[in-house]
């Protein structure tokens, strides 16, 4: 059977009961997940949730305490080399050989992978504005990250494992990165995007999996997770803050003197109408952090009964 045929029959990623325990600490608990070929899966979670542990298990760098992980039907622990032949990886921390230039680093990483598209590499260097003649030790953190992103993309591997890939990138380069990821998806590449940035995942992903305390809290399309699209509002009043807890869409409202803080799901208009004539001095709006969202929707403790059922 031809390799391509065998690959086409298997999911890009299949994880069954995957667990990782360090002493008494559970880094990952019984993870079940499947990513079909061609999909972009956003893998969300706050710091320490187990995202990097999952990726290192997929890469065969860590041995699972229980369960197994497969890439295109190949067991990542038993046959890591075969699994890696379809995989490219961008870590969150850009650790490269400091004495090499960017060009030398890309040549090395491409050769180690086995094959890469040189023309596409040159194009990516141009798009990301990387000076390949500089030595790695003289690159900024963002430029080191660019080298790793280019190295992964130029292989056109069937699966891209990205662990906080845009950390250290400026907004313009981040936009270019998102554009390159969309192109990869159009080519049929599968992308596993680990991030703690809700907006980045929202911009790129077909589905989202949410990890909390090493456990899968939710997985599904973002459109199905309307409760995650809340914004946080902070409002200052000339007098004491009014009670808005009964306003539709408003939750977690807390008043402190002249200040009101709340989260709003869906349209903001009902809240704005309720605030009319109450002496609003200013309104601050921002995307809630993942920690705030998890605090709001899943509680603070480790009691898993408060976690919404997993939709696969």
């Amino acid at each position: 059977m031809a390799l391509e045929e065998r690959l086409d029959g298997a999911p890009a990623i299949r994880v069954e009961g995957l667990s990782k325990r360090y002493g008494r600490v559970d880094a990952l608990v019984h993870l079940d997940l499947e990513v079909p070929p061609g999909e972009v899966l956003g893998y969300l979670g706050p710091n320490g949730a187990g995202k990097t542990t999952t990726i290192r298990l997929l890469l065969g760098f860590l041995r699972p305490s229980a369960g197994r992980a497969m890439i295109f039907g190949t067991d990542c622990t038993e046959q890591p080399v075969k699994a890696h032949s379809h995989t490219a990886f961008v870590p969150g921390e850009a650790n490269l050989w400091p004495s090499f230039t960017g060009e030398e680093s890309l040549e090395l990483l491409g050769n180690l992978h086995g094959q890469f598209d040189r023309a596409y590499k040159d194009q990516l260097i141009e798009r990301f504005g990387l000076d390949p003649s500089k030595k790695v030790r003289d690159y900024s953190r963002g430029n080191r990250q660019k080298v790793l992103i280019i190295a992964a993309l130029m292989t056109k591997a069937r699966l891209l494992l990205l662990d906080e890939p845009s950390s250290g990138l400026d907004p313009l380069v981040e936009k270019e990165f998102q554009s390159a990821i969309r192109e990869a998806r159009q080519r049929g590449q599968t992308i596993f995007l680990s991030s703690h940035s809700l907006s980045e995942v929202e911009a790129l992903s077909d589905r989202v999996a949410i990890l909390r305390d090493g456990r899968l809290a939710e997985v599904g399309a973002l459109s199905q997770m309307r409760h995650l699209s809340a914004i946080t509002l902070e409002v200052e009043f000339a007098a004491a803050a009014p009670d808005v807890s009964a306003v539709p869409g408003v939750s977690n409202a807390t008043a402190d003197g002249h200040w009101l803080r709340c989260q709003v799901q869906g349209p903001v208009e009902p809240l704005l109408q309720a605030l009319a004539g109450t002496g609003v001095l200013r309104i601050l709006s921002r995307e809630p952090s993942l920690e705030e969202l998890f605090l709001a929707y899943y509680g603070t403790g480790h009691d898993q009964t408060s976690v919404a059922p997993v939709a696969s």
């Binding site: 890469l59 760098f61 921390e93 490269l96 230039t101 180690l112 000076d131 003197g257």
Partner: protein
């Protein structure tokens, strides 16, 4: 929400005046305690064993007569005055070994705290506060000074206690001055390490430069102590200055002045230069840009060859110079041994034979130690690849762990073998230039004879890398340190073969004084290779561990 104002009086900050001093002292204290204990015990064992080995006055006078003017032993261990006393014997037996080990520790400790932490990015955090680079560098030196003080105190304490036992006759004042002399090289080379940390582009370069100065210092002292009319050379070598302190025998406290002045001046220079360069750069650093050199980038083994090539060349050059110096002084050193009972002592040290051959038998023991250190750096570099996360970038690209570590072992073995051969050839060249009649074949065999110990170290390193990766460095340096101490303590445990057998160097034949024991070599190499296989298997079945 109302933003709470932060009253500055509420903010408590740790004092930046001593923060790094304390941090440095804490990080180096454990190993300082260990070295203090080892140095003290080495002094104690030398002093206590003297009266056990040389019981009568005649035996002691005979010993003094043999070594008093012997060029061979002077080249290797320094001059040997007053060997008819416990004090003289103790200094002859232990001081040079301790001084060299102390110097290596000093330069490694400082370069790790200064350049190692800077390369790892920890200094960016440190310097983002009120601390200036000069202050931080000065504090690291201060902290290292405290660690040297710990070594000094423990060495002095043990020496002082031993001085009160039986007939060892080391006064409390003598013990204090002895400890001062023994740690002086640590202080001087810590300062040198601080200076090279400012000049070099990274820690590896800093260590290499400081180690080269140490090698040159040892070589100059050797020539000064062994060569006729060249004694003035002792004053161009920091190790020579320490030697001139002459503790216990005929103390020269005034020599502490140039030693102290040198240490302070070099330290000040390092502190001044720390503020005159960019963070992460060296004053003699490499250019930021360069034309891409795309050779040896097509696989993990070739990558290893490229990454370790410069280091291998440096080791080769250092060992070649060492061999050349040994070869040059071999003939004159050996001439003092003909017909004398010194041969019996050299035989006890493991090098039977006559003249230059017996001298070179011991000289190749030093080369074996250097080659073992080279093997150790191969494995610590492998661990560094993993700890830094760079190995992730290799293993994620369809490269098996076994393939990677095998490449490291093969390249390491080849580079060590090249160094062994170079040592043989250069020692031969040096001795040939002085009219020695030892042929190139036995000299080459003597060089290759040092390989099994290096293979054993590679094996121990691979096993540690596979099973206890964070302990890789400790494992390889512990094997070398222990073996070197046992062997260079020479004859202390001559009746306790089980102790001598724990030294990897003890199993090497003293070629060219004797023919290499190829069967023994094969067993040691075989044990090393078995450890490599076990280590590679263990590596396949464990988690990768990054810092």
């Amino acid at each position: 929400m109302p933003r709470p104002s932060i009253a500055t009086s509420e903010v408590t900050e740790p004092s930046s005046k001593s923060l790094v001093v304390v941090y440095t002292a804490k990080r180096t204290a454990k190993i300082a305690v260990l070295w203090g204990y080892v140095f003290g015990m080495l002094v104690a064992s030398s002093a206590l064993s003297y009266s056990r080995i040389y019981k009568t006055k005649q035996e002691r006078e005979h010993l003094a007569q043999i070594f008093g003017s012997n060029h061979a032993s002077a080249a290797l261990f320094g001059p040997a005055p007053q060997l008819q006393t416990v004090a003289g014997f103790t200094i002859f037996k232990s001081s040079m070994t301790i001084m060299v080990i102390g110097a290596i520790w000093g330069l490694l400790a400082v370069t790790r705290m200064l350049r190692g932490d800077e390369d790892a990015g920890r200094w960016e955090l440190l310097l983002s506060g009120r601390l200036t680079r000069q202050a931080a560098t000065a504090q690291v030196l201060g902290g290292t000074g405290l660690a040297v003080g710990i070594v000094w105190a423990i060495t002095a304490l043990i020496s002082g206690v031993v001085g009160q036992v039986g007939s060892t006759d080391i006064s409390p004042g003598g013990a204090l001055f002895l400890a001062t002399a023994l740690v002086a090289s640590s202080a001087m080379f810590a300062a040198i390490g601080a200076l090279t940390s400012q000049l070099a582009a990274n820690r590896q370069q800093a260590v290499r430069s400081a180690a080269l100065l140490l090698g040159a210092s040892y070589g100059a002292r050797m020539v000064a102590d062994a060569g006729d009319g060249l004694h003035w050379l002792v004053w161009v070598s920091p190790l020579g200055w320490v030697e001139q302190l002459r503790p216990l025998t005929s103390p020269q406290a005034w020599v502490l002045l140039p030693i102290g002045a040198f240490t302070v001046a070099v330290s000040l220079m390092a502190v001044l230069l720390a503020g005159r360069r960019d963070l992460g750069e060296g004053l003699l650093g490499e250019p930021a840009k360069g034309r891409a050199r795309l050779y040896l980038l097509s696989g993990p083994t070739r990558l290893t060859a490229r990454l370790t090539g410069a280091s291998s060349v440096w080791w080769g050059v250092a060992v070649a110079i060492c061999g050349l110096v040994m070869g040059i002084i071999a003939k004159s050193a050996g001439e003092t041994m003909y017909g004398s009972s010194v041969q019996q002592v050299f035989t006890r040290l493991g090098s039977p034979g006559t003249g230059a051959r017996a001298f070179l038998g011991i000289a190749f023991l030093l080369i074996a130690i250097l080659v073992a250190f080279q093997a150790a750096t191969v494995m610590t570099a492998a661990r560094e690849e993993e700890a830094s996360g760079r190995l992730d970038q290799v293993l994620v690209r369809a490269v098996a762990r076994g393939h990677w570590v095998l490449g490291r072992i093969v390249i390491g073995t080849l580079s060590v073998l090249a160094t062994c051969c170079l040592a043989g050839v250069c020692t031969w060249a040096g001795s040939f230039a002085q009219g020695s009649r030892i042929g190139i074949v036995p000299m080459l065999a003597a060089g290759v004879n040092t390989l099994p110990a290096a293979l054993f170290v590679l094996g121990v390193g691979t096993l540690a890398l596979g099973s206890q990766p964070r302990q890789t460095s400790l494992a390889v340096y512990a094997v070398i340190g222990w073996s070197a101490l046992i062997d260079l303590a020479g004859g202390l445990f001559s009746e306790d073969h089980w102790v001598l057998d724990t030294s990897i160097f003890h199993h090497l034949a003293s070629a060219p004084a004797t023919s290499p024991h190829w069967q023994t070599d094969a067993v040691m190499a075989g044990l090393g290779i078995a450890a490599m296989v076990l280590g590679a298997q263990a590596l396949r079945r464990r988690d990768l561990v990054t810092n």
